[in-house]
Subunit: 269 residues, 2 copies
């Protein structure tokens, strides 16, 4: 088994404390051969912010697509302490704010509201996001991650979206809300809640590698969704379910509003 | 921040080597209050097999839904060595084959073809899957995970599906292929490749907690998919893309066929 894994493993050449981040899956190996077929292009550099309380699925969707798009993926945190996701799976950062490459092709921020609020209130996180965001080719988020971009001043004057239950906080930080699932305005790409990360992932893969490459990834992931219910948006779910979800989160949503207001007051207009 | 996390943390009471698996997300905390509202029902016990080379997204989709459905989730491996997923994120098992609860409500197997083949050839894995599968209320898989169920003899005489590129191996192990995205036959539930795990997750959540609960989870995850391309199934993608994906995986697909044939020859008819 180990030999088999090693044979299929692909090193991404990441500066890991725990050694290299190995992408061992045969699907990724197959995509690597596809990337090679496409010529000796350099791998796009992706910096993915990770933080305690983040939603694993917010990261796993885009990360899976971007791994299949043969990217150089950096999981960035303030320090190298393991990060705890919503479902309890712990993620080891591969680099730190200080050591992350300066010029990223893509800066990405996932969501997870309690953790998002902490990030919006953390100077070091905002400084990192603001610095890399000003230099990255693409500045992106899924779910409540957009609030971190907003708090770092990166959405001022841009159309954007976020998880539906915090979208109304974006204008506080100077963004104009759009209700598309994935919103592209110049080099800002923001996506809706959690599962929107897969749609976002395929869109950024198409930007980085072309439509045909993205189509092949979609087929590899068998992304032909068939939701068993039609309650995936506030409009489809209806007012009762929406009120129920909002009421159960009243406290944390109020904290997010305070964080957005504080961020708007802090940053230069 | 730590205080805030602790306040929101929910212990699932899992027998972890690294301490308890904390579900710290506010969304999960909110769902917990919903579960309490529904009465003092016990949490469904979920055993999720994890193994090297598995696809993180195969696990993250169903696990996120099941966490929101307030389940007791066990990440089960042969031993407590960390498991490396396709994207390089390492997952710590929470229990072992020996220590996993005997009577699970749900046994779940994710995919990841190189790892799936190793599992199909591993006696200890098959013994575990066969034992818990015979006793579990629901025997389930996503993606190539169905091949592990098949190799353990659990799909003989059942309709089932798997990732589209290995579906034709199911009949070797006595299953009848169905081309639905999520196939339910008596207590067997098998789903298609990778992203089908989210559709599966919502279906098993509805079974465990009721349709209204599953609808609220779908809204919480904003699962209103908008794939940017229509290449998520072999039929939609067309023969050229399909051939391309298959050719790049010819070797591992041939290995999977051998493993399926060996498994069929090994197990009693």
């Amino acid at each position: 088994m180990d030999k088999q894994l090693t044979r299929r493993s692909l090193s991404l050449g990441l500066p890991l404390s725990m050694g290299l981040l190995h992408l061992a899956n045969d699907a990724i190996a197959a995509e690597n051969s596809a990337a090679k077929d496409a010529g000796p292009s350099t791998k796009p550099k992706i910096g993915m912010l990770i933080y305690n309380d983040m939603i694993l699925l917010d990261l796993a969707g885009p990360m899976t697509v971007l791994a299949l798009a043969m990217s150089e993926i950096h999981l960035v945190a303030k320090n190298r302490s393991p990060v705890r996701s919503d479902v309890g799976i712990v993620i080891q950062p591969t680099t730190t704010f200080d050591e992350c490459p300066g010029d990223l092709d893509v800066l990405f921020v996932p969501g997870g509201l309690a953790g998002t609020i902490a990030a919006m209130n953390d100077d070091a996180t905002l400084a990192f996001v603001s610095d890399r965001g000003a230099r990255a080719k693409w500045v992106t988020s899924v779910c409540t991650g957009a609030l971190v971009l907003g708090a770092a001043g990166l959405l001022r004057g841009y159309k954007a979206t976020s998880h539906w239950y915090v979208r109304d906080l974006l204008p506080i930080m100077g963004a104009e809300v759009s209700d598309e699932r994935v919103v592209i305005d110049r080099n800002r790409i923001t996506a809706g809640g959690v599962t929107a990360g897969i749609d976002f992932g395929l869109q950024i893969a198409a930007i980085l590698r072309g439509d045909d490459y993205a189509r092949r990834i979609q087929l590899t992931l068998e992304y032909d969704p068939k939701p068993p219910f039609s309650s995936g948006s506030p409009g489809a779910a209806g007012p009762e379910l929406v009120r129920d979800v909002l009421e159960r989160r009243a406290k944390v949503l109020a904290e997010a509003r305070v964080a957005a207001t504080n961020a708007a007051n802090r940053s230069p207009k």
